[in-house]
Symmetry: C2
Subunit: 151 residues, 2 copies
């Protein structure tokens, strides 16, 4: 049976996850208004700001998602013309993915509004809060790694 401390610990985590899920849902709604999903927009941004050409595997590593899932995301981005898939000449296993002009235009249209929304979200946090949050999150990250090692 759980102790009071157990319940308090659990509540901290639940609250964290709950707020994050609310943020994720808000982001989903926001991007849906521009005809893309959050996952798709993420990929577009990664592609836009990358110095070198990226393969599907590269995108998978960036987004911490399996290659099989990247296939589908690129499929849909390609179908809506936001992205282009080109077979590599050097390595015939590989596809190089690039954003199209349409994709760049979309990002330019979305970006400002996105940062405005983020600003509204963190409105109630001052510099100290943000620092404190970052530190606590780092500690949780360490806790996660510790828990995983002991599994």
């Amino acid at each position: 049976m759980p102790t009071d401390t157990d319940q308090l610990n659990n509540n901290s985590i639940r609250k964290l996850v709950h707020v994050s899920e609310a943020i994720i849902k808000a982001a989903d709604r926001f991007f849906a208004g521009f005809g893309v999903t959050t996952a798709q927009y993420d990929v577009l941004v990664i592609l836009k700001y990358s110095k070198n050409r990226l393969t599907q595997s590269d995108l998978g590593i960036n987004r911490v998602v399996s290659r099989s899932n990247i296939t589908g995301i690129i499929d849909r981005l390609e179908k809506t013309g936001l992205v282009k898939r080109e077979g590599s000449a050097d390595d015939r296993r590989v596809n190089h993915i690039t954003v199209t002009k349409k994709g760049i235009d979309l990002i330019n249209k979305v970006e400002d509004k996105y940062f405005e929304n983020v600003k509204k979200l963190v409105w109630f946090l001052d510099e100290k809060d943000k620092k404190g949050l970052a530190e606590i999150l780092d500690r949780l990250d360490r806790g996660l790694k510790r828990a995983e090692d002991e599994l």
Copy 2:
């Protein structure tokens, strides 16, 4: 184009979401070891600790998930015998959902280990950290509501 403050704000949110997603994935793996998904276990726990009989809509409100999703989750829980679906006599639109003995047994087997894992996760946080985190999360919640109202 985003300012430095924009980027910092964004990083705070990204970090928050990133840590939460890592926690969610760890939970998914943990519960998968017992043959249920996190969503399914959530429903079981809600049912176990509820004073009154719950309908599918009730569960949807509790889990903040649409009714269409609850249908599928209950389908699968019913198929594995962890839950029972019974049509209401009073209101023939409604299904009453109850945990079976098998469901209760599962919770009892999982619960202790679950709280142990949460403990490992928050190991690096002292009382002050937990309080600080709760407060920051509450502020973010307020920011969310504010952003939604202005949309």
